[in-house]
Structure formats: structure tokens, C-alpha cells
């Protein structure tokens, strides 16, 4: 047409009217900076407080002080690990929700974290304390997370349709199954393992080493970068498989990529922190309401927001009954359970025929 003529008419005023109704690079950078600032604040506050009161000045000034040892040896790696695990869980939640087109999806709820946990436990017990175990356990966890993801997805797909409630029920059943299998492993290992498995299963971030932090970050980064290359395709996938294909998306390939990337990430997170539920549900949901549904922003925002959320949840877990501490998974489940029910009831009102 005349495309040109047609388009030139009164466009500037109209483009101004679009301001804020779509994602621009500027809006994306602004939000990510705001979230990063929030994360920084949470990291500083969480590192400063804990069950033991420390002197921050001495911690930085005197490398032989107990303050220094507590801050850099125990607290900071733990806070950092919390941030990474939270980042992974929230970003994976956002990607899984795109995959199944359902805001109720999350690694824990779908039974993927449980599968990863079973794999990780078996690997932990078999490898015992061999030196390479901290690199091998995440890989085994990744393999079992992938198997769980594909199994849940395929079983929930009935005649090519993914009904949300079928999906959630399959997740419930898988979780029961993994739980039973883990109990089985737990009952045949010695008492030392049994106790640590139980605590770890509830989701804990106890005393990681910097090496573990580095390994988990490495796997998380790979998975996340892969997901980001497909963020726009995830937007199109919200239209349904067929419509996405008509818009140029290789749907089957996209699905496989999401399976792999999310499984790498969940495997890494679960191998160090056990099962921490609902972070992947709450964080993307709140951010979607605030920032919109575009996955190009939603995924990185969930990554940063999830990190901040987990750091704060872990701070609460460490301090609320100090000097004892709760598993952080208990805190997220206490917030997440009611939130999930609220979402379920809200979503239930809307037909999700896709």
C-alpha cells in the first residue's frame, strides 16, 4: 500500500500512545536495573545479619578475626548460593509456565525437582564423599530432572492437548512417587546419611563451599543463556502450538530446548539445595503482573527477582528461631502454599482451553 502512505498518517502521536504497552530496550534495562538494586540490598543485608552478631568492619579489616571467618567462610557463600538457587528456580518457573502455557507450573509442583532429588540422592550415596562428587551430582540430577520433565509432559499430553489439571495431577503423583523412592533409599542407608538427606530434602542451603557455588553458577548460566535465545519464541508459544508454528516457531525443537535448559538448571539447584518449592511460582507470577508477560523481560526479571526473594527467605530461615535454623524450603512453602491455592482458585474461574 501504500503501506507507506497508510502508515505515515498521524503516527507519532499514536506511537506515543503506545508508550508502556510494549517492551522496549529502555524499559527492559530500567526494570532489570531496579531489580538488580533490590538484589544488591538484599545481599548486603543478608550477609550482615545472622544467628551470630558480627562486626562488619572487623570482618573486612582483619582477615584473622572470627568475624572474617564467619562472614567470608560461612555467611557470604551461603547467601550467594541462596541467590543462585532462587534465580534458577524462578527463571525455570517462568520458562516451564511458557512451555505448558499455564501459570501454575513450577519445577517442584510438576515433580521435576523431586526427580532431580532422587537422582541426586542416589548419586550422593553411591559416590559418598569422593572428590568429584560435587561436579557429578549436578549432572546426575540434570539427567533425572530431564527424564522427569519429559515423562510429566508426555503423560499429561492427551490427544495433543495439555489440560492444566491433568498436568497438575501428574505432578502430584510424580511427587508422591519420588517421595516414596527417596524414603526407600533413605531407609537403607546409614543414620548419618538419613539425617542429612531429610534436612536437605526440605530445602537447605547449609554451608556451601565457593567451589560448589561456582559449579552451580556455571550450569545455571548455560541453561539461562539458552533459554534467553528462545524468549521471543516463548511469547509466540502462548498462542498455542499450531499458531506458534504458523508464526515461524519450530515448536518441537523449542520444546526440547526448554526441556534441556530447565533440566540443567533444576538439576544444579536441587543438587545443592534439595527441593525448594513455590519460588518458581510466586516470583514469575508477581513479576508478570507488574511487568507484563513478555518473556524477554520476564525471564531475566525472574532470575534477578528470584535471587532477591530467596536471599530474604533464607535470611528469615536463619534468624527467626536463632540460634537454631529452619530449612529455607519451609519458609518458601509456608508463603507458597496459600499463594498457590489463591492462584488455583483464580485460574479455575477462567477456562484455559488451549
Amino acid at each position: 500500500m501504500s503501506a507507506a502512505v497508510d502508515i505515515d498518517r498521524g503516527r507519532d502521536a499514536a506511537l506515543d500512545a503506545f508508550e508502556g504497552a510494549y517492551l522496549t530496550r529502555g524499559r527492559m534495562i530500567l526494570w532489570l536495573l531496579i531489580l538488580t538494586a533490590a538484589l544488591m540490598v538484599s545481599l548486603i543485608v543478608a550477609s550482615a545479619f545472622g544467628s551470630v552478631r558480627i562486626n562488619l568492619i572487623r570482618a573486612f579489616a582483619d582477615s584473622s578475626s572470627a568475624d572474617h571467618a564467619i562472614f567470608f567462610g560461612a555467611r557470604f557463600p551461603r547467601v550467594l548460593m541462596g541467590a543462585i538457587v532462587g534465580a534458577v528456580l524462578a527463571a525455570v518457573g517462568g520458562a516451564l509456565q511458557a512451555l505448558v502455557r499455564n501459570p501454575l507450573a513450577e519445577g517442584g509442583i510438576l515433580g521435576i525437582s523431586g526427580g532431580a532429588a532422587l537422582g541426586a540422592i542416589i548419586a550422593l550415596v553411591l559416590l559418598s564423599r569422593s572428590p568429584a562428587s560435587d561436579a557429578i551430582v549436578p549432572i546426575v540430577a540434570f539427567g533425572s530432572a530431564l527424564a522427569a520433565t519429559v515423562a510429566v509432559y508426555r503423560l499429561a499430553l492427551i490427544e495433543g492437548r495439555l489440560e492444566p489439571f491433568t498436568l497438575l495431577l501428574i505432578g502430584v503423583i510424580f511427587n508422591a512417587f519420588w517421595g516414596a523412592a527417596i524414603m526407600l533409599v533413605n531407609s537403607v542407608v546409614n543414620f548419618y546419611y538419613a539425617h542429612s538427606i531429610l534436612f536437605w530434602l526440605m530445602g537447605s542451603l547449609e554451608a556451601p563451599t565457593y567451589r560448589e557455588v561456582a559449579i552451580v553458577s556455571f550450569f545455571a548460566a548455560i541453561g539461562f543463556i539458552v533459554l534467553m535465545t528462545r524468549a521471543r519464541d516463548m511469547n509466540l508459544l502462548s498462542l498455542g502450538d499450531e499458531a506458534a508454528a504458523e508464526m515461524g516457531v519450530e515448536v518441537e525443537q523449542l520444546r526440547r530446548i526448554i526441556f534441556f535448559a530447565t533440566s540443567i538448571m533444576i538439576g544444579a539447584a536441587v543438587s545443592v539445595s534439595g527441593i525448594i518449592s513455590f519460588v518458581g511460582l510466586i516470583v514469575p507470577h508477581v513479576l508478570r503482573l507488574a511487568l507484563g508477560a513478555d518473556h524477554r523481560l520476564l525471564l531475566p526479571a525472574s532470575l534477578i527477582g528470584g535471587a532477591a526473594f530467596m536471599v530474604v527467605a533464607d535470611l528469615i530461615a536463619r534468624t527467626v528461631i536463632a540460634p537454631a535454623e529452619l530449612p529455607v524450603g519451609a519458609i518458601t512453602a509456608l508463603c507458597g502454599g496459600p499463594f498457590f491455592i489463591y492462584m488455583l482458585r483464580r485460574e479455575g474461574r477462567r477456562p484455559f482451553s488451549l
Binding site: 503501506a3 503506545f18 498462542l239 498455542g240 504458523e246 484455559f352 482451553s353
Partner: protein, 268 residues
């Protein structure tokens, strides 16, 4: 561009057979379409109209037959290349998350953009024009899930327009729409046919709309083409009685001379 495009052949399909599992919904249909042409596919429920669109759009595999688009075999296109040439609007349009109307229309630009590219002012202008043409500018910022069925349909038509394709496949584009918007949509697509040489295939239940707006009509029943040609030659009382298995009156609008088709079965 190949020779075929220069000569204006958009689509050449022959002897298409396709179905779902055991059920053959399409049993040997052949058709051709030229640039600038608007073809209406009509026929009773289950005639294979939507199946034909899906096979042409490449989302349903055929079990027999050939499809050539713009002079090249359909299978030689990758998905993105195909999405730049063919825009499809399905019968039902759902979306999982709260995207704004503008965001959905901008999705039409995706086949033209790289994975990390943001929409340019050019893309926004195209989206603006698409929204304007379907009377949606006032709704641009609204979450799509808050819209009525008819409004939502128009959003998806606008998205197809923003895709800037050369062939549009529209499955029941006028379902849920009021008379004004039916007329607007057809005049919009006719305009695109004439001015941009776009080709349109639309499945329609509304025979009067087919008669009024289509250059050619393909009448289908039970997965085969019964007749294909000008509306006057295809939409005859005899053809329609045979295909729909009910009495039909075909007359002329005294004001415009256009075909009028009415059900004429006696009242029990």
C-alpha cells in the same frame, strides 16, 4: 522471486489427501490461487475446509498430493520463511498470558525479527496501521483476555495483517463479528488483494458474504471439491441443495444485484 510469482501463481495444490488418525478429512482436493485473488471455501460442517487450510499452511501433514507456494514446494520452506509469506488466523484464538492487544499484534512481526531484536519504529507503525484498520486503536493497551470474542478475533486478524504476508489463510474470520465489522474486514482484505496483490483464502459459513466478497468460491463436501468458480456459477440453488441437503433460495438483491442466499426449508 521465481517465474511463477511473476505470473501471479501463489498456490498450486493437487490431489491433497490428509486427515486425523484414521479419519480422512480431505480426500483429493486440487486448487490454484493467483496473486490478488480472494477465494472463499464454503461447505457444511466437516467438509474439510479447515483441514485444507492447515495443509496449505503446513501445520498438518498431508498423506498424498503436492503443494507449491510461490513456485516452490511447500516442504522446501523453513517455518520462519513460510511465516513471512503466509499469515494464518485460526478459528479459535486463545492466549495463555496477559499480553496487551498491541503486544499480540506486534507478535506478527516476529518472523521478520531476529531473536534479540526489539521491535523498531517501523514495526510499530505497521502494528499501528493494522490496529487502525480493524478499529482497535482504542483497545491497544488493554489485556487481550479482557476483550470480547469479536474484538479478540479482530486482534488476531490485525496480527495477521502486521505479519505482512503475501497469502492470508483465514478460518472463519467473521465468526462472532457484527455486520459492520464483517463488512470492514472483507473490504480491508479486498483492498489488500487489489493494492498489494495479496491472496486470501477464507473459509466461510456465511454464503452471502462469500457471494458478496469472494472472487471465486470453492464448494466442498465430505473432503472433496464439488465446484469451484465464480460465486454465480458455484452458489446455485441446485449445488447448495445437494451439498447442504436442505432447500435453498438463491436470488438477487434488488438494490445492488448481488446474490442473496436464504434457507428455504419449509417450517415443518
Amino acid at each position: 522471486m521465481s517465474d511463477a510469482t511473476e505470473h501471479g501463481t501463489v498456490l498450486h495444490a493437487s490431489d491433497l489427501v490428509a486427515g486425523y488418525g484414521e479419519v480422512e478429512a480431505l480426500r483429493g482436493v486440487s486448487m490454484e490461487l493467483r496473486a490478488g485473488e480472494m477465494l472463499a471455501i464454503v461447505g457444511p460442517n466437516g467438509a474439510g475446509k479447515s483441514t485444507l487450510l492447515k495443509v496449505i499452511g503446513g501445520t498438518l501433514a498431508r498423506t498424498r498430493g503436492t503443494v507449491e507456494l510461490f513456485g516452490r514446494p511447500l516442504d522446501s520452506y523453513d517455518r520462519r520463511a513460510l511465516a513471512r509469506l503466509v499469515a494464518t488466523v485460526a478459528q479459535e484464538n486463545n492466549i495463555a498470558f496477559q499480553f496487551s492487544v498491541l503486544e499480540v499484534v506486534l507478535m506478527g512481526r516476529a518472523p521478520h525479527l531476529g531473536a534479540f531484536h526489539f521491535e523498531t519504529p517501523h514495526d510499530l507503525k505497521i502494528a499501528h496501521s493494522a490496529l487502525e484498520h480493524f478499529d482497535l486503536l482504542a483497545l491497544a493497551r488493554r489485556p487481550i483476555q479482557e476483550l470480547s470474542g469479536g474484538e479478540r478475533k479482530r486482534v488476531f486478524l490485525a496480527r495477521a495483517l502486521a505479519q505482512d504476508a503475501k497469502l492470508a489463510l483465514l478460518d472463519e474470520p467473521t465468526a462472532f463479528l457484527d455486520m459492520k465489522h464483517v463488512a470492514d474486514i472483507f473490504s480491508r482484505f479486498r483492498d489488500l488483494c487489489i493494492r498489494r496483490g495479496m491472496a486470501v483464502i477464507a473459509t466461510l459459513h456465511d454464503l452471502n458474504a462469500a457471494a458478496l466478497y469472494a472472487d471465486r468460491v470453492l464448494l466442498m463436501k465430505d473432503g472433496v471439491a464439488i465446484a469451484c468458480g465464480s460465486p454465480e456459477s458455484v452458489l446455485t440453488a441446485e449445488n447448495l441443495r445437494n451439498v447442504y441437503d436442505t432447500e435453498v433460495y438463491v436470488g438477487r438483491n434488488p438494490a445492488s444485484g448481488a446474490l442473496i442466499i436464504l434457507p428455504a426449508a419449509p417450517r415443518a
